[in-house]
Amino acid sequence: MSSLAVVLAQAPQTTVINLAPGAGTPAADPNAPIPTPPVLWAALLPILVLGIGGLVLLTISSLLKKGAPRGFYTLYTVMVAGLSMAAAVPLWAKVNGWTKIAWWDFRDLWWQSLPTEAGPFSTLGQAIGVDGLSVFLILLICIAVILGSLLSDDFLLREGLEGPETYALLLFSACGGVIMAMADDLIVLFLGLETLSIAVYVLAASHLKRAQSQEAGLKYFVLGGFSSAFFLYGIAMLYGATGTTNLVAMKDFLSRSIPANNALLLIGFALLLVGFAFKVAAVPFHAWSPDVYDGAPTPSVAFMASGVKAAGFAGLVRVFVVAFGQYAADWQPIVYALAVLSLVVGSVLAIVQNNVKRTLAYSSVSHVGFILIAVEAATPAGIQAVLFYLASYTFMVVGSFGVVTLVGRVGDGRHSLDDYKGLGRTNPLLAAIFTVFLLAQAGVPFTAGFVAKFYAVIAAVDAGSTVLAVIAMISATIAAFLYLRIIVAMYMTDSDGRSASPVSRAERIRIPFATGLSLLLCVLTTVGVGLLPGPLTELSAKGTPSLVREPARTATDGGLTVGTTGTEAAPGQSQQQG
């Protein structure tokens, strides 16, 4: 404790310089109106649609006396998520400097309210940033909501848990995820993280008929709250070191002045990384994930593994690669260690599991390792690889858990490897679909998983982390064994040697429409991206993050003055090697 006190005693001399625009105490006339930042509502539309959509859903459901017609909640959720995506498309066009996409001309919509010049911009006192990364992740999180709600439809009917709760929680959680993806301020990032997490804690505990589900919810909640506190303490340390919580101002400050004693800064980095590593389930902060994945309702797990991870990596990339790219030499070793541990521990522990949901949980830990090696590269190519991996992983993992939902049958409890024995004979279609997802996760060529792993490894090698790339490829080989183990169970073993007898009705699993639609989308994307990776590669290349200063306002009309926008490019050539 005494060393900390010494550190802090020196802090004020180095941190009292306050360069944050908007922050600090304006020594102005106390009677003057408090300046409020301009709000570009069009940029906030994706967040508002999701949040208000969830509230309206709860209101509608409480007004319906006889309960909603079958499938209404799912349809509503899909429509709200679709609307949110539609609201994000004009932002994507603005960032890329287009005025229309295909037949859709934006100029007559709310286009006028957006800044005139093309490119990324920020609003709300630069707390919310609109750039390639945030729009890409809005689209991705909304896709995860759509796929997750399609899976939930028949699941809730089967389990007798019908109601609007799951859908409303999915929407709130997605709202938090989108806030995280757009946050240019650490406090906004924290609020997004909590909105996302609190909704997901409840989702995990929402299967009221299974004791495991509530246990999973409690474990997730306790460990999640623990890691949120660390995350917040990290923000406090960075605030103490730089005098602001805004990432743009923080980056400005750090590029202009080098703190004489940057211990506060380094403690802040470490604590923030703990928070992020917990959210994305990187080893050694992964302990919750097998238990929670095992206990939580399977369609919710599909969303946790796709949407929540995507939002977590959005925050990680924006905070560390973009805002603190200058300090890459300090945080890269920690990410390096997290990546190696996740890759090795994830793939090795996955092999010894007998429960398919737990196996998939550990395999998702090893996928996190792969994404982390792309983060560790801290280059534009690395960010592109992260986005490509997240996008293709979303479809693979939702598809896998979709099949697990069906095979789990009533009670959502039949997840052991024995339950998959002979699935190739009793349910050939389901087994074939599952095989596609498992092969894609293993990284077999002509699937999305292969291309994603390829980009991640290339990014690591280009950034000079050859050893990391080698470890990644070795652990991918180990992980391939566990996927093949499930495939062997499905096709080459039969539980009691009845291979000659006809398949009984009880063994056959009906694939309901909504689940089938979700699985079809996932299969098509997984194979399609594997065969033609071009379009997704281009999309993820456009998803570059940037921290943009908000244009200064003229004092008279509060309007925007043109020409003061300073665009900070994504970290590139000036990267220092660790």
């Binding site: 404790m1 900390l4 006190a5 802090l8 005693a9 802090a11 004020p12 941190t15 009292v16 306050n18 922050a23 600090g24 105490t25 406090i187 924290f190 609020l191 909590e194 609190i198 804690y201 409840v202 505990a205 009221l208 004791a211 495991q212 509530q214 246990e215 999973a216 919810g217 409690l218 474990k219 909640f221 306790v222 709250g225 623990f226 949120s228 506190a229 917040l232 303490y233 923000i235 406090a236 340390m237 605030y239 103490g240 005098g243 602001t244 919580t245 097998p290 238990d291 095992d294 206990g295 599991q353 007998n354 429960n355 737990r358």
Partner: protein
């Protein structure tokens, strides 16, 4: 305010944060674990206020309001989950929750 006082507050908040973190790890009662999370969040609040005072900046104090709201929401959800568990198994402690393991 003197610098020594601020250092004192920062040290106090670090100690409180540590007490909360250790308490969460060693106590088995779900309610006490919830209180430990609250203690950690409030320790961070103290850090924010102290830094705000050291930097003569209002942000540190504004942040506290956000954190308070988040903490309140967390308590509501946490108590809800604890009640759901307690209904199924009255008097359950963290050690009793062991259906999921492996």
């Amino acid at each position: 305010m003197g610098n020594d006082v601020n250092i004192g507050y920062l040290t106090l908040s670090a100690i409180l944060f540590g007490v909360g973190a250790i308490g969460l790890l060693v106590r088995r009662n779900a309610l006490v674990m919830l209180m430990c999370i609250e203690l950690m969040l409030n320790a961070v609040n103290l850090t924010f206020v102290t830094f705000g005072s050291m930097l003569n900046d209002i942000t540190g104090q504004v942040v506290v309001f956000f954190v308070l709201v988040v903490a309140a929401a967390e308590v509501v959800v946490g108590l809800g989950i604890i009640v759901a568990v307690a209904r199924r198994r009255p008097g359950a402690t963290a050690d009793d929750l062991r259906v999921l393991r492996g």
